[in-house]
Structures are given as C-alpha cells and as structure tokens.
Amino acid sequence: MNLFSIVMDSCKESMQLSSKSLKIFVPYIVSTAITAAIIIVFILISVIAAVGGIVYRLPENIDSSNIFAALGTLIIGGVVIAAVVLPVIYSIVEAGLLGMLKSLLQNGQTRWSDFFRSVREKWLGMLGGSIVAALISVIVTVIAAVILVLAHIITLGWGMLLGTSILYVFLGAWSTIYIIEETGPVNAITRGFYLGKRYFWALLILGMANTLLAMYLSQLASSVPIVGLLFASIAAAVVGTYFKLVLMRFYLAVRESSVKTEI
C-alpha cells in the first residue's frame, strides 16, 4: 500500500469518526472565540483609555512623554497577550483536544473527561514544546525569508504556501507524537522532524490540504454578511481539527506498519 493510500484511508476514517463525535470540534472553536474575545477586549480598553485620556486631559498636558507612555503600555500589553496568554490557551486546548482524538481513535469514542485528563497531564509539556517549535519556526523563517519572498513572487503566490507546508512537514507532527508516545516535548520534536523527513510528500500533501481547505472554506464562510468572520473562524477551526485527526490516524498507521523513527 502506498503512502497516498494511507493518507486517503486516514482521511476516510477520520471523516467517519468525526461525524460521530462532533464534540471534538468544540475545543478549537472555543479557543478561537476566547482568543478573539481577548484581542477585542484589549483593543476596546486601549481605545477607551486613549479616548478618555484625550477627552479628560487638557490639551496642554498632552506631550511626547504621555504619548510614549500610552504607546509603551499598548505594546507591552500586546506582547504579554501574544507571548504569554495566547500560548497558554493554545497549549491547554491542544493538549486536551489531542487527548480526545487519541481516545477517539483507540476506543471509537471520546468524552470530556479525556480532554481534562490530557490537559492535567500534558499541558505544561505542550507549552514548552510549543515555545521551542515556535522559536525554530521563527529562526527558519528569518533565515529563509529572502528565498520565501522570491519564491512567492516567481511562482505568483505559491511560495508562501509551500514554505508553510514544509514547516508543517517537519514541525507539525510533534504535538501528536508527544500525546501518543510517552516522551518529552523536545524528543517529540526530534521524532517529528525525522517523521517529516521520512514521509515528506505525504505530510506535504496533508499540510497543503489543511491550509488550502481552511483558506477556501474561510473565504466562503466570510461571504455571509455581519457574521462572516465568525463563520470563517468556525470553518478554519473545523478544518484544523479534522486534519489533526487525520495526522494522528496517519501517524498510528505508519507506526503500526513497523516503520519506526529513531533518534
């Protein structure tokens, strides 16, 4: 059986399982909503503070030090949210969701207790691994920035997609491996790298399919007036969850076919 068949079988089984357990789509949708709420509240507070400052402060008291103080607060607040709050939320949701998916694949069903148990056991490691993976992504992106931009221009738009898909190949599977195997996050990242190296094309197809479908469905959903953004976020969350399940199923399939990745 070739790798494409394994990928298609993983997609088929994932579709069947996910249609029976719709609760697996809830974590990503809720996390998207929470993230959006945090960002909106932050922006609202900033705007109210700025407007309030302008309204109640006499014009002659507005000087460069006040403006810099306001800007600094805004930037620090934004950095705290982006670097601390959002990664914590992401790690909790990711750990819980992958625990549910593991239970679904192994037992044919999943419960909310699977979510909370996985969060208790794995969220800290997930947070650490996410930070390491993010750092690696940033370093690679900075080093390859010129190549990415040139490739994007020369291929009229495909360069960035290929770049992000290649990052997915080598860094996309570590969280799945971390949940399934009894190993640490750094070890999971290393094993994920070797998995990507071995099954490059299969994971590239999954990465591209994930990105292209999420973008296309988000664009379709966003055409709905007023609530388009909400529907687009839900569409992206659903596609993201589905492909997490596909990736986990694919990993289990290649593991069961006695192909092991070793450090």
Binding site: D9, E13, I154, M160, M208, L213, L217, S223, V224
Partner: protein
Amino acid sequence: MTKVLMIFDYLKDTFEINRRNRTLYKPQIVLAVLKSAAVLLLGIFVYFFYNGMLNNHSSFDSPNIMVIVVIMVLIALLLAIFWLVSVLFQAGLYFMYYRAVAQGSTQTKDFWQGVRRFFLKFLAIDLLTFAAWIPFLFLYLIVGFLTLGVGFAIIPILLTVFLGLWKISIVSDNCGVFDALKNGFRFGAKFFIPYTLFVIISLAFTNPVHTNGTMNFANGLSNISENKDRETDWNEFSPEKYLPEYEYGPDSKADLFKHVSSFDSDFFDSDDILNPDKELPYHYSEQFEDPFKFNLEKENRLVDTLKSHLDMVGIVLLIGTMVLSVGVLLNTLIKMVFSVFFQLAAFVIYMNKFEKPVCEQACEVE
C-alpha cells in the same frame, strides 16, 4: 455518508491511474509553455511600441488612433487564438483521461483522436456558455446582492456542480452537446452532497485563495511604470538645476517652472523658435513682462534627462514582463499537477457513479 467516503477511494484510484500515465501531463506542459511564451511576446511587443512612442515626441501629444486600434485588434486576435488552442488541448486531454480511466492507460495518439472527435463540440459548449453568461450575469448580480454577497460565493460552486460534468459526459457517454448537459445536470442533482464536497476540495486546490491575486502581480508590474511617472520628483527638472544662465527674479521662478511644464510643444518643434522676429505664443507673452533669456540647447538637455527616465521605465516594463512570463509558467505548472489530478478524479467519479462498493473493513476503526 457512504457515498461521501467513496470520494477518498476514488482519489486513491485516481492517484494510481495518474502514476501509471505520466503522458497525461505532456499536453498541459506544452500549453503552459505556450501561455508563458504568449505573455513574453506580448510584453516585448508592448515594450517596442512604448519605445517607439517615446522616440516620437509628437505621439504623446497627438496619438495615432489607428495605431491604438491595430494594437487592440492584435491583442484580441492573440487572445482568440489562445482560447482556440486551449479548447483544442482540452478536447485531446479529456479523451486521454477517458482512455486512462476506461482502459487503464493512454497514449499520445489518444490526444489527436480526442481533438478530431470532440474539438467542435467543446467549442460549441464554450460558445454556448459565453452566450449564456450575458443574460445570466445580471441574474448572478441580482441574486448576489439580494443575498448580501453570499450568492457571489455559492453560485460558482453550484455552477461547477451542475455544469462541470458537461464536457466529461460528452467524452465518456459519446453523446451530443445537449444530452451531455442533461446527463451532467442529473448527476449533480442525484449525487449533490458528495459531489459538492468533491468540487469544494478540487476548487480549493485548483483555484486557491492565495493565488487569486495572481494577476494582481501583473497589474502591480504595470503599475510600477505608472507609479514611477506619478512619483517622479519634478523639482529634479527645475530650470535652476540645469539652466543656471537664466536670469529671473524670485517670483518668476515658479512661473517659469509652470511655463516649462505646460508649454505648447509645437512651439519647440517648429522653426519659429529660432526666429527672433516671430511673435511669441499668446500665453507666453502674457506671463512675463520681460522675456527671459532662452537657451534652446539647455532646454533639449532637460528633455533628454526626462527621456532617460522614461527609457528606464521601459526597461523595467520589459524585465517585469520576463519575470511575469516565468511566474506564469511556474504557476501554471504547479496548478497543472492539481488540475490534471482532479479532472481525472472527476472522470473516475462520473464513470463509477458512486456505485463502486466500499470495503467495509477499511471503514472500521482499528
């Protein structure tokens, strides 16, 4: 749900057929090269035309209408030829797909057989579709606005579901144009949900969102030349920089500058400028109480500098066209991989009509 899951089985079959029949890519590669060459030729033609206009100053003031009409006719002819070539390639390619699915393999001769048998029918379909678009466009716009924009997104998908199998039916059922339309429509209606899912997946790959602005790049390149003209700092051409011999007062400098940029070029082109007895143009004498000392040689230097900037614009245009033609080639080749795969998959799905039994074991969770 069973029929939806069958899509993945059909995609597996498609992959196998695709892997065994690499000749399916040959026509698309040739078409991609032709497309790229057409873009390059068009760019070179525009560059030479632009250069020709640049060397002939009068063209800017009184452009030859006939030249513009000839150019537009040539571009329209080029597009028409390219459309006919695309239809020709499509007819041959579709028959190759049919052979690959029906017999498991295909050869280059199948391409020419497909062209002979189906070129005119495909041409008729394209003309009918184009003719139908004229009245349908208004309906499309009305529905789109009434549904507050949702229709603009949904209608193209529905059209693909119900009309996308038209040409496939002509080839696989070997029937007439209108019978094929009925067959395709019935298939789309009967297997609406699974086929719509397939259409969405195929559109996500073959008409990806991130490259919808592909031609914005081309527009951006053409905008580079326009922006360079708009952003040119005209102060760079101020007379005091190039014509220090001018004698003028503080206020007249602005007037002089205005005068240089708006002066009637016919005056420069004529011999009257060298005739000291010739009465100066009306607006010229009105702006100045004392005519300034005019140096024709220095004025030509100003024009030459302006011309060198415009030459640079032409070169940027040419290089941009070369880059664009390479981009068109690469973009088409990447899209070709997906379009061949999903067009072949559409043949597999249509010819099997979701009747292929699904292996129950494969659907169970291990």
